[in-house]
């Protein structure tokens, strides 16, 4: 594996592992799935392929960030806002 790519892959793994700590179904569940995903591709040598896979990983990072944000947003909305009140507000912003 080319050196800079090796560093990127490792950084991607660490970032995903860090994000997975708050995964709703449990950090262990996430870690297992993460390891499987990385092991499945361990024999890939073509730099272009590796680049594509790393980009997929970046997308997953963004998805996780959004997942966590939505979970927090929905919990706060349920706890603090009456349903009727929401109808009066101009809801053009975050969905739900």
């Amino acid at each position: 594996m080319a050196n800079p790519l090796r560093r990127e892959v490792r950084q991607l793994y660490k970032n995903l592992l860090y994000l997975g700590r708050e995964y709703p179904q449990g950090a262990d569940y996430f870690r297992e799935r993460l390891n499987c995903a990385f092991m499945k591709n361990k024999d890939v040598t073509d730099p272009k392929e590796i680049r594509k896979l790393v980009d997929c990983g970046e997308v997953v990072i963004k998805e996780l960030g959004t997942l966590y944000y939505l979970r927090e947003y929905r919990t706060m909305k349920k706890r603090f806002y009456e349903e009727e009140l929401l109808g009066l507000l101009n809801i053009g912003r975050p969905i739900d």
Binding site: Q11, N15, L88
Partner: protein, 240 residues
């Protein structure tokens, strides 16, 4: 914010030992707004402040990872921390705002542990600054701030002059998640340490908690098969 809360056996409060603490969700939105204003070049520097024991530095680090430039940890621990409420925090913020010559103090509208919704308002009063509370949109226009507020009747737009206090409501923005590379970079940022006494603030509480109880448990619902069953049950209950 997702931890299960339990009341202490002596009803003096809620169990906090060993419970995972994180930044107040509304304060996350406040930090995000401050960082956004800096990115748009409306403000020069964002300082993250938190009051409490040593664990509080973790929360300040999260704020630094979200983009704040430096942090201030006002150390309050033990009995002072247990008795600390919006008034004491507001006094600390007011003293700091003057000391740091801040043009904006941005905080969450309320803390989800005590639901007071008082700190922002008290800070503005102590500083004699205008306040834009329950902000769902903030625009800086020269020396003035246009704030769209979420109120009971709908939305209210006000224009206030700086320096001002703003409190963030849920729909102000979507806070960024502090990823590992940002947290690593934040380790280089400074967190200053000080005590309330350094700011001339007395932490004596004027409020005494008498008792803390759990809310009454909700009774399980009863499922019925048909509309007739529902009517019969409601009649038996004396509801109709």
């Amino acid at each position: 914010y997702i931890v299960t809360i339990r009341v202490k056996p002596d009803h003096s409060g809620v169990v906090t030992d060993g419970v995972k603490h994180s930044m107040n969700p509304f304060c996350e939105i406040a930090v995000e707004e401050a960082v956004k204003l800096k990115e748009k070049k409306f403000i020069k520097e964002v300082v993250a402040v938190s009051c409490g024991p040593t664990q509080v530095t973790e929360t300040i680090r999260t704020a630094l990872a979200m983009g704040c430039d430096r942090g201030i940890h006002v150390e309050v621990s033990g009995k002072d921390y247990e008795a600390m409420g919006p008034l004491q925090i507001a006094k600390i913020f007011a003293a700091l705002a003057k000391k740091e010559e801040a043009s904006l103090v941005i905080l969450g509208k309320q803390a989800i542990d005590d639901d007071c919704n008082q700190t922002g308002q008290m800070t503005a009063a102590l500083l004699d600054w205008p306040q834009g509370t329950f902000a769902s949109e903030v625009t800086i226009d020269g020396e003035k701030v246009k704030v769209v507020r979420e109120i009971d009747g709908g939305l209210e737009t006000i224009k206030i002059s700086m320096p001002a206090v703003l409190t963030a409501d849920l729909r102000l923005n979507t806070p960024r998640y502090a990823t590992l590379p940002n947290i690593m970079k934040a380790k280089k940022k400074k967190i200053a340490n000080m005590k309330p006494a350094d700011l001339g603030v007395d932490m004596v509480s004027r409020v005494e908690v008498l008792r803390v109880d759990e809310p009454p448990t909700r009774l399980a619902g009863v499922k019925v098969e048909t509309v007739d069953d529902l009517v019969a049950k409601l009649k038996a209950n004396g509801t109709i």
